[in-house]
């Protein structure tokens, strides 16, 4: 339980620091709205066919906005050399990973939960018809984005052009997860329940999350210490 205690300490620290400045989360909200707007121009929301696929478009918004939060995750440790202090402390790498990943998860989920109603308004879609299954997709998909994004945030923190490198490296790895999340969201937003063959996407999301969380836990120490 000491492990979990340290995880919570780090999560609390990240969230408290973010709430004081709100840099990442404001940028993320704003970006989500802008992208939603642009997508509304690209895909005419008044057409019935667009409304049917619109759930998939949501994940483009979520992924782009999420990257802003993820970038900040380890970048916030750079001023004052705070990362040194974190590494020097007797906190195991997996605890540091989980602490930061949970904080990122909370922040990105918050942005998504704000973007959803706005999306509902722009696209005139009643997205609440399959609310809880949709929430499950959000949770699973966002955790996939967060777990990989947090490790890669540490990987790219010292690189020039970090803001470009992070999405460049993360998005291809996420493709299977995005495929599943987009597919499920499109159906759920259109009000259809997930049944039969389509449940395979839930299995994909679960499996994806478990595999990559395990991998991230194991490799975090290596990334931090080089």
């Amino acid at each position: 339980m000491r492990f979990l205690g340290q995880v919570m300490v780090i999560t609390a620290k990240d969230l408290r620091a973010e709430m004081r400045t709100k840099e990442a989360i404001n940028a993320s909200f704003a970006f989500a709205l802008v992208v939603l707007l642009l997508l509304s121009f690209a895909f005419d929301p008044t057409e019935e066919t667009t409304r049917e696929i619109s759930g998939g478009l949501l994940w483009i918004v979520f992924t782009f906005a999420g990257t802003l939060v993820l970038n900040r995750s380890f970048a916030r440790e750079l001023p004052n050399d705070c990362l040194d202090a974190l590494i020097a402390a007797p906190v195991p790498g997996p605890a540091l990973f989980l602490g930061k990943a949970l904080a990122n998860f909370v922040l990105i989920l918050a942005v998504e939960l704000v973007a959803l109603p706005v999306f509902g308004i722009f696209y005139n879609v009643r997205w609440t018809r399959q609310f809880w299954p949709l929430m499950l997709v959000l949770v699973l998909g966002t955790w996939g984005l967060t777990s990989i994004g947090t490790v890669f945030s540490a990987l790219t923190v010292n690189i020039r052009l970090r803001e470009v490198m992070l999405p460049l490296l993360v998005y291809p790895v996420l493709i299977p997860m995005l495929l599943g999340a987009m597919r499920l969201s499109a159906l759920l937003v259109a009000g259809q329940a997930i049944a039969g063959d389509e449940t395979v996407w839930f299995k994909l999301l679960f499996g994806f999350d478990i595999i990559f969380t395990a991998l991230s836990l194991v490799l975090m120490d290596t990334v931090l210490l080089g």
């Binding site: 490790v151 990987l155 690189i159 291809p172 299977p176 495929l179 994909l204 595999i211 990559f212 490799l219």
Partner: protein, 225 residues
């Protein structure tokens, strides 16, 4: 010694390929697809070599992280670079085939789409390496990324396949038509030839990487004097 092995492999690969080109051109046309079907002799072995290459890259990356011996890092980058080239061959031949048979350059079929995603994944590996200057950090981070990429590959294949099964496309002629026995032999020989070519190119790249390290080491020693 290694030089001789490398040259021998290259020579053997060249001989096999040239002989095969002759054999392949002599084979009768496949019933439904005509001339273009011959492209499968290169299309499939290219993908098979790339797949084995990515497995070798994984093993090399894990071994580097465990031993911190830079020869594994050199192997990982060599095998990945050559693999990208072979995967590109796979994509281009697949695209040409699609254009001839289906009339479109890209048809979003399961295998080619997966191959494209894998190509992008491993291109990311090279981009990451380019962005990191310090050799130890570069090797370590690249190894971590390589492990993530390899873990993703089977998931990509499955997910794209499910995507295509749940949304069936119009039925085209399948890529693997009937395979007459004299074709099988030529196919296997080409497969071996491509593997040899892959191995030889990897060794060339490996040699280059090791020479670079030797130069770095000599420069270090000179600086220390």
């Amino acid at each position: 010694m290694r030089q001789k092995v490398m040259i021998a492999m290259l020579a053997l690969a060249a001989v096999l390929l040239v002989r095969n080109l002759y054999v392949i051109s002599m084979l009768p046309d496949e019933m439904r697809q005509g001339q273009i079907f011959r492209i499968i002799f290169f299309h499939v072995p290219a993908a098979a070599s790339a797949m084995i290459g990515s497995a070798v890259a994984l093993i090399a990356s894990v071994l580097f992280l465990l031993t911190r011996n830079f020869k594994y890092d050199a192997l990982a980058v060599a095998v990945t670079e050559v693999g990208l080239a072979f995967l590109a061959v796979n994509l281009v031949t697949g695209s040409i085939w699609a254009r001839v048979i289906w009339g479109v350059w890209w048809a979003w079929d399961a295998r080619l789409t997966s191959a494209l995603i894998c190509w992008i994944l491993y291109a990311g590996y090279l981009i990451l390496r380019q962005a990191l200057e310090e050799p130890t950090q570069r090797a370590t981070f690249a190894a971590v990324y390589s492990i993530f990429a390899f873990t993703d590959v089977p998931i990509v294949y499955f997910s794209i396949r499910w995507w295509r099964t749940l949304h069936p496309q119009p039925v085209f002629f399948s890529k693997s038509g009937s395979f007459p026995p004299d074709w099988s032999r030529a196919f296997l020989i080409n497969m071996v030839a491509m593997f040899l070519l892959y191995a030889a190119l990897t060794m060339i790249r490996l040699r280059q990487e090791e020479t670079q390290r030797e130069i770095d080491y000599l420069r270090r020693t000179v600086h220390a004097i």
